[in-house]
């Protein structure tokens, strides 16, 4: 018998005519590892919310059809009854992890469900093996991967049969992502059913048993042959991006940084790092979580100052960096942060670009370049995550600073948005000769965006080479 049955499920938000989910039907068996894929806004997260009862228990709207758990309608269960059966790990683990220590986090759900103390102790020992950190470890000090494992372990504490995950790989480097996928696979072997919503197939396709592909709220395809899934992933990747090989031209230096170090407290985050980048070059920076990539970006953007920062030489476009002049970096460098929500604040897409671009002609040029013309009157904060990232990049690029820094531009991007973003970055580089430095964990994006690759570890550049180094690096990690 199926553990989860979805029958002709349709869901519409209140005061909306268009349904977010349209007539979706499928069944999930015990121990299945299912990947829920599709473009941004295709309804993946909404479907997860229907599966775990958030819709209709917490979200309003019109729902027709049914989700059945072990033959009983999810609507018939109270939220408390559901948490012991279905566990959910949301995309933003910072909002999911509620306590200061690992132990507090793990016991919280069990305490609320009234699990007897002896049993709680026993479960805690098993969960400890999953989290792989001390029980009294401070949550704030855990890495992204460790927090992700903690969030999963705290959900497993209530012994659910089904585990739902919303984009769990988004913030993880490839090694952490591979470890997480292997761990989820182990859970399915223990009889848990795992449903994972994820934009991208490249990391997950070889681990899952089944792929459900959503488009515009409809279940477009259901692959259950693993070879078909891997083949589909390859097809999409190949059609998405191919790197542009270009001849290196002699150029003036854009960035000259020598012996730069930056400490956070007593720990050095960047150590004796030297970097020279000529104008117009596209550089991709790779490395594990915590290797100092984002800090390097912040140093270049002038956001790391004071006694914690030291350097031998720091020049941008031939001019020595001035710690006293706050506008020095601002006039030369544009930085697109990881989270676009921190960067958008105007009332419309047009105004966001206008703030940097100046005249209306230039606004139109950048809106067109980034494919945002149709959205020009929309409020930025109601756009999809992929659109927001594109807009944040457009808003920074419109200032036409000669150096553009992109920190994880691929997070939350489906193939179509990723393809678009890479295309735009390429055009920006070609038309305006912008020097572009990109930090990413994404193999395809890195390959497509690199004239030159830098690999960082423990705050230093440990290896560098041409675009082909991307594939060598990722192969090495997977091994």
């Amino acid at each position: 018998m199926a553990i989860l049955d979805v029958c002709e499920l349709t869901y519409t938000l209140p005061e909306n005519e268009d349904a977010l989910l349209k007539n979706i039907s499928f069944s999930l068996s015990q121990g299945e590892f299912v990947l829920l894929s599709g473009e941004s806004g295709s309804g993946k997260s909404t479907l997860l919310k229907c599966l775990n009862g958030v819709i209709p228990h917490f979200w309003l709207g019109t729902i027709s059809g049914e989700v059945r758990l072990n033959g009983h309608s999810v609507q018939a269960f109270s939220p408390v009854e559901l948490i012991a059966r279905i566990g959910t790990v949301w995309q933003d683990v910072d909002a999911q992890v509620l306590h200061l220590t690992v132990e507090d986090e793990l016991v919280f759900g069990m305490e609320n469900l009234g699990v007897p103390l002896a049993e709680m102790e026993e479960r805690l020992q098993r969960l400890r093996e999953i989290v792989q950190v001390d029980l009294d470890a401070v949550v704030e000090h855990l890495s992204g991967g460790q927090k992700q494992r903690l969030a999963i372990a705290s959900v497993l504490a209530t012994l659910p049969d089904v585990i739902l995950l919303d984009e769990p790989l988004a913030n993880l480097d490839i090694q952490s992502a591979a470890r997480l996928l292997l761990f989820l696979k182990q859970l399915t072997r223990q009889g848990k059913t795992v449903v994972m919503a994820e934009h991208r197939l490249d990391l997950a396709s070889s681990h899952v048993d089944r792929l459900l592909y959503l488009k515009d709220g409809e279940l477009q395809r259901d692959w259950s042959d693993t070879q078909d899934i891997v083949a589909e992933d390859r097809r999409r990747r190949l059609s998405t991006m191919m790197p542009k090989k270009r001849q290196a031209k002699p150029a003036h230096p854009a960035i000259e940084l020598e012996e730069a170090s930056y400490r956070f407290g007593r720990d050095p985050v960047v150590r004796d790092l030297s970097l020279h980048v000529p104008q117009g070059q596209r550089v991709v920076i790779l490395g594990e979580n915590g290797s100092g990539k984002s800090t390097l970006m912040k140093i270049l953007a002038g956001l790391c100052r004071g006694r914690r920062l030291s350097y031998g030489t720091f020049k941008l476009l031939g001019q020595p960096h001035s710690a006293r002049d706050a506008s020095f970096n601002r006039s030369r460098v544009g930085l697109v942060f990881q989270n676009p929500n921190h960067q958008l604040f105007m009332e419309s897409v047009y105004q966001e670009v206008e703030l940097a671009a100046g005249g209306p002609n230039r606004v139109d040029h950048f809106l067109e370049l980034f494919g945002l013309t149709k959205l020009r009157d929309r409020h930025p904060l109601i756009l999809s995550q992929g659109q927001k990232r594109l807009l944040a990049t457009a808003a920074v690029a419109a200032a036409e600073r000669p150096i553009l820094l992109l920190d994880e531009p691929t997070i939350g991007q489906d193939y179509a948005h990723l393809h678009n973003l890479i295309h735009v970055i390429d055009r920006l580089n070609e038309k305006h000769n912008t020097t572009i430095l990109t930090v990413t964990h994404d193999q395809q994006a890195a390959y497509a965006l690199a004239d030159r690759v830098l690999i960082m570890d423990s705050g230093q550049i440990v290896e560098e080479g041409e675009g082909d180094l991307v594939n060598t690096y990722f192969k090495r990690l997977v091994r």
Binding site: V54, F58, P79, V80, L82, I83, T88, W90, D92, D94, A95, Q96, L98, H99, L100, T101, V102, E103, D104, V107, F108, G109, M110, E111, N112, L113, G114, P116, L117, M120, V133, D134, D136, A137, V138, E140, H141, L142, Q146, S154, T158, A301, L303, A326, S327, N329, R330, V333, L335, F337, N341, H342, Q343, L344, F345, M346, L355, L381, V396, A399
Partner: protein, 231 residues
């Protein structure tokens, strides 16, 4: 190495009952408001400072202290210039430190879950408990978000463009958006972890009042009363 929460805090403060810590915090604040004499205020403040340093909270005081001092100086100058007497202005400035020290005493040594357990045992409504939990856990998250928002604004908007209205938009809109989405997610996550259910709950660790808690509370009251009475 992840480090233990409150590892540097001395056991005589860490192991105090959370509600006793909360009551002490409130008492300190009431003392600050109800004591007009700058001598009495300063004397207890120095004792409190010494206590916090002994308890291992020096590191937590060091970071914000320059900002609190700057704010206190502003309060003192404004108070003195606009009609107040020197002692009144000084007392107003010193109260700023009281607020900061008492907050550090509580937040710097109390785990949210331990506090929740204590409040649950005291039968406080869950809505009140959730508010306190969110405040304690998510202040650092929001602080980090605010830093990123300010950095992002400073990089996007040139100095010449920085009108008050734009600065208000640039800082406040993303911050409010983040606060709203975070609170929405936290509320849902709490409910999905069974928080606030009417089921019989169990506690992994019991939090109970001991003779040391009573002694601490009384000793503090005696010190406060003596200083207040003598000065």
């Amino acid at each position: 190495m992840q480090g233990s929460a409150f590892a540097g805090v001395a056991p005589f403060l860490r192991e105090l009952h959370p509600i006793v810590k909360l009551i002490t915090t409130i008492l300190i604040f009431i003392y600050a408001l109800a004591t007009p004499s700058p001598t009495a205020l300063l004397l207890y403040l120095f004792l409190l400072w010494g206590f916090l340093l002994l308890a291992g909270l020096g590191g937590q005081l060091r970071g914000p202290l320059p900002y609190v001092s700057a704010a206190a100086v502003i309060v003192f100058v404004v108070g003195w210039l606009f009609g107040g007497t020197f002692p009144m202005a000084l007392a107003a400035a010193v109260r700023f430190f009281y607020l900061f020290f008492s907050f550090t005493l509580f937040v710097g040594s109390t785990s949210p879950n331990e506090f929740l357990r204590a409040l649950h045992q005291a039968r406080l409504p869950w809505m009140l408990r959730v508010g306190l939990l969110i405040t304690m856990r998510f202040i650092p998250v929001l602080k980090e978000d605010m830093t990123k928002i300010i950095q992002s604004f400073s990089l996007r908007v040139d100095k010449g463009q920085r009108r008050l209205g734009l600065m208000y938009r640039g800082m406040l809109v993303p911050f409010l958006f983040r606060m709203m989405s975070l609170s929405d997610q936290i509320a849902m996550n709490l409910q999905m972890r069974g928080f606030g259910t009417k089921r019989q709950q169990t506690r992994y660790r019991d939090v109970s009042f001991g003779s040391y808690d009573l002694f601490f509370l009384l000793a503090n009251l005696v010190v406060m009363g003596t200083i207040r009475w003598r000065f």
